[in-house]
């Protein structure tokens, strides 16, 4: 995606939500906009309805845990199919109590993506119709993709930890 298009997308967002932009990066030529968390849904809806941008396809939603800064980022990746533009929006939530409004009001497909994010990171999406664990068992108490939790199954017997440097 060349830089004129990127600037165009940025200007479209700046038109209405300039105050929400924290920073803009383009790692590997992929427009990434870091945003404040407050208006995220309005911004996405605005991009959805914008007559030129038409970001009407939600590619994916995921969480990222940054233990150093004690934050959990939510990444929304949007795709404007008619223009073939892609944009990545990121917001940062505190680690202890991450809360963000749900995107299911804009995209029906956000439902399970948010449930997965809840399951993995414990992010609470307010207004979500059915915020339960999706992949893990219901009675699990941890949110396993946070960095502090171990990957391994602790009950296995055929591997000895000292051999693998754990």
């Amino acid at each position: 995606m060349d830089s004129t298009i990127q600037e165009k997308i940025i200007s479209i967002i700046k038109e209405k939500f300039e105050g929400d932009i924290l920073s803009i990066e383009t790692p590997y030529n992929f427009l990434t906009i870091n945003l404040k968390q407050d208006n995220i849904i309005e911004i996405i809806r605005y991009l959805y309805n914008h007559p030129e941008a038409k970001f009407q396809y939600l590619t994916t939603v995921c969480g990222i845990h940054y233990p150093d800064v004690k934050q959990i980022a939510i990444m929304y990746q949007l795709h404007s199919l008619t223009n073939n533009w892609r944009v990545r929006l990121k917001i940062y939530l505190p680690e202890e109590n991450p809360v963000v409004p749900t995107l299911t009001t804009v995209f029906a497909g956000a439902n399970w993506m948010e449930r997965e994010t809840y399951d993995f990171f414990g992010v609470k999406f307010t207004g979500h119709p059915d915020l339960r664990r999706i992949l893990n068992v219901e009675d699990m108490i941890i949110h396993p993709l946070r960095k502090e939790y171990p990957l391994e199954d602790q009950t296995r017997e055929d591997k000895k930890d000292f051999m693998f440097g754990r």
Partner: protein, 189 residues
């Protein structure tokens, strides 16, 4: 919605012709196909009696190679264990003692070398990681068994017998095979 690719084509035709509506022509066509197959030669390979040809580079049962003189090549560097995504390989290394030169090629060798065959996913990464031409996967199959204890293969099952060498030359690149002919390299001595 407008076309995104500019080369789309609708491939579905849902209206049925009269003949298709009547069921029978299509059914007749179908039964003729199955009847033709009824008399065709069968593709089945009767397994235990006849074996299907494996590719020369099939990733099956591991082997720990010996060199030409019969000494074990493995030097217990641990690269295979590190590269194993399933963490199925464990080993302990030991120093070669005097008088064991005919047994072990390098000064260090694997005292125990175990592969947990139930964990192993036969990805071939250990073979790639080995810098000493010691471990290879072969086109043999790991056999099934009744209990789970027998599946931790130690050196007894992994090291090739001196008198029954396992040929792995087909897995090696032509460049390596060419290189192996040159005795001036220390690796080939």
């Amino acid at each position: 919605m407008q076309s995104l690719s500019g080369r789309s084509k609708v491939v579905v035709k849902k209206e049925m012709t009269l003949a298709e509506r009547m069921y029978l022509p299509a059914i007749l066509g179908g039964v003729m196909i199955t009847l033709r197959h009824f008399f065709k030669r069968k593709t089945t390979i009767k397994y235990p009696e006849k074996k299907r040809e494996f590719s020369a580079i099939w990733r099956g049962h591991h082997v720990l190679k010996r060199d030409e003189k019969g000494a074990e090549r493995c030097t217990a560097c641990g690269l295979c264990a590190v590269s194993c995504p399933a963490e199925a390989i464990t080993m302990t290394s030991g120093e070669r003692k005097k008088g064991e030169e005919h047994l072990y090629r390098e000064e260090k060798y694997a005292v125990t070398y175990e592969i947990n065959m139930l964990r192993c996913i036969f990805c071939g990464l250990c073979e790639e990681a080995c810098p000493k031409e010691a471990i290879f996967l072969t086109d043999r199959l790991v056999s099934t068994d009744y209990g789970r204890d027998g599946f931790i293969y130690g050196k007894d099952k992994l090291v090739e017998p001196v008198d029954k060498r396992i040929d792995v030359t087909k897995r090696q690149t032509p460049a390596v095979l060419e290189f192996k002919k040159h005795k001036e390299f220390s690796h080939n001595k």
